[in-house]
Symmetry: C2
Subunit: 365 residues, 2 copies
Amino acid sequence: MHFNPCLNAIKTYQAGRPIEEVVEKYGIKPQEVIKLASNENPYGCSKLVLEALQKKLSFINLYPDDSMSALKALLSQKFHISPENLIIGAGSDQILEFCVRAKCNEKSKVLMAGITFAMYEIYAKQVGAQVLKTTSHEHDLEEFLDLYAAHKPEIIFLCTPNNPLGECLDAKAVEEFLENIDKECLVILDGAYQEYASYKDPKKALDPKLFERFGNVILLRTFSKAYGLGGMRMGYGIAEKSLISQLYKMRPPFNVGTLSLEAACAALGDEVFVRECIAKNFTEMQKYKDFADAHGIEYLDSWSNFIVFFCEGKRLNSSALAEAFMQKGIIIRDLASYGMNAVRITIGTEEQNLKVFSFLQAFLS
Amino acid sequence: MHFNPCLNAIKTYQAGRPIEEVVEKYGIKPQEVIKLASNENPYGCSKLVLEALQKKLSFINLYPDDSMSALKALLSQKFHISPENLIIGAGSDQILEFCVRAKCNEKSKVLMAGITFAMYEIYAKQVGAQVLKTTSHEHDLEEFLDLYAAHKPEIIFLCTPNNPLGECLDAKAVEEFLENIDKECLVILDGAYQEYASYKDPKKALDPKLFERFGNVILLRTFSKAYGLGGMRMGYGIAEKSLISQLYKMRPPFNVGTLSLEAACAALGDEVFVRECIAKNFTEMQKYKDFADAHGIEYLDSWSNFIVFFCEGKRLNSSALAEAFMQKGIIIRDLASYGMNAVRITIGTEEQNLKVFSFLQAFLS
């Protein structure tokens, strides 16, 4: 059977490996597996979320409120915006997909950093769009501007902080960049890790009301990281009303579930939990940097909840290292699929991180 | 900002109205609202599901197992197929979307019944495909064959039983139809209500292994209806391996949540619950037919968990009737958006249905 020709160019996304795989492959008990491959919140989620879900369990036969008015009201209040500036997705991922499908086709171009979130490219290829990347791995806004001027892409992706590298643009630099972009070009600011970046350095905090100045910008945020709801698939986009209404045309009905909506609403009621998790994240991240310094491992400074360790300097192969970790029940992310000889490790709890250090020390000696 | 031109033709899907809207608009207590607009299972879900979810709540910070191997194993066992014949979606809706996006573009045509599930048309229009419909409202396979021969569409949708009308093709008629369709044309058999139809009449039961004879066929099933998991967004498709692997290219990672996977697995362990719900459904549906006969209301016989009452013969307006119901806290589905002066009512519990009859009787007199 024939399919759209663009499907030939699509590689399937390689997700962080699940606990179930380690259990099956190495016979390790599920509760002993340490999962540091997908940048989830290692402290779980707020107790308020669990309480809210308990109460909602008996309603799962019913479709969710597709207007999502309760969640939109809370987010509107938080950011001092109108509910009409919001679109909710099954993860901010889904909003990326809406954007690409609404703006692009096989004649379009999209622009992104040399190494950035893999789904930007996959979504673009799903509609046959041409993918342009900066030669720089990290975000180099000068190079972005050059490529923008030369190619006039339909979409520019800025991942800030950048997954999987961890670097983060200053908000001011982003705003200056936006001044140079035509209003026909959609700029997607992927802020999945913004809570971490803005805690570490307020200069990184993107203004949620950027759309008031830049109608061609959408800011994406998620409940999957700092809010501890990775398994619930909840994210959102903030943009100008007319942009949101076009994206809504790509939204399937009931795109987020009854419990997911409930969880997100409850999570917004416990910002203390979120701040505590982020504080612990950076305390623990310092230990990773100290460990790397002590062992001569090159790494990238990070404004998120993960850190990249390079393998080259230690004459290691990242895939072999990740596999060795996995045999010990620790899942980390091999970056070989991003063309890098490096691993990305999610900052875990104190106990989890000690195990990482202990294993890595043994492995290196 | 410019968007893909096909967006101009897209109308947003009008979902069944949520309980929250009735509460807000008419000041009715949530627990007193009766929701019979979206064909959910009025008996909730299996207790096994609730127990399984209780145990899984503390893992919602973690992304789901994206291989979905546990659920695929259970479904493979149930249908005597390989896990590679399965794709899991956020509702079977999402698999419809994968199919359309994989096969169609602005040069494509799709074919469907005159009145059928509204999302077929919306997904087709999202990629700019041309929508062909039979003049017959219900599925008339002769007319399908004529239009197929004349237009050679990329996709044919058969909704069996058909939502929102309730009629259902015989499995044998579907198989004979498939014999006449070229293998380049994807035939989507939407079996969202198959559990109901095959209980009422085994002749309606589509063979899950149809793909062994017809590589161009995908059968869709859902947990949203008989299994009582509408709020969890879980459905699946069964097809030939090579077709599944193409559809996988359109699947975003983590497209179903951690609790949704858990709920589906648990639900498959309690087929007794499902059968009991379906038995009650048809006992209660008989009361709707008796009521309609007694009051001279025209209706369509149904192989699902809903029934269509026509308004014309009673000189009623379906929108006004639905609104009057809503003021009393009963949500039913106005079919005006399908171009019909009729309402679709989900068969509720005995208590809920008595309230429907009582209100309708008062309204008619």
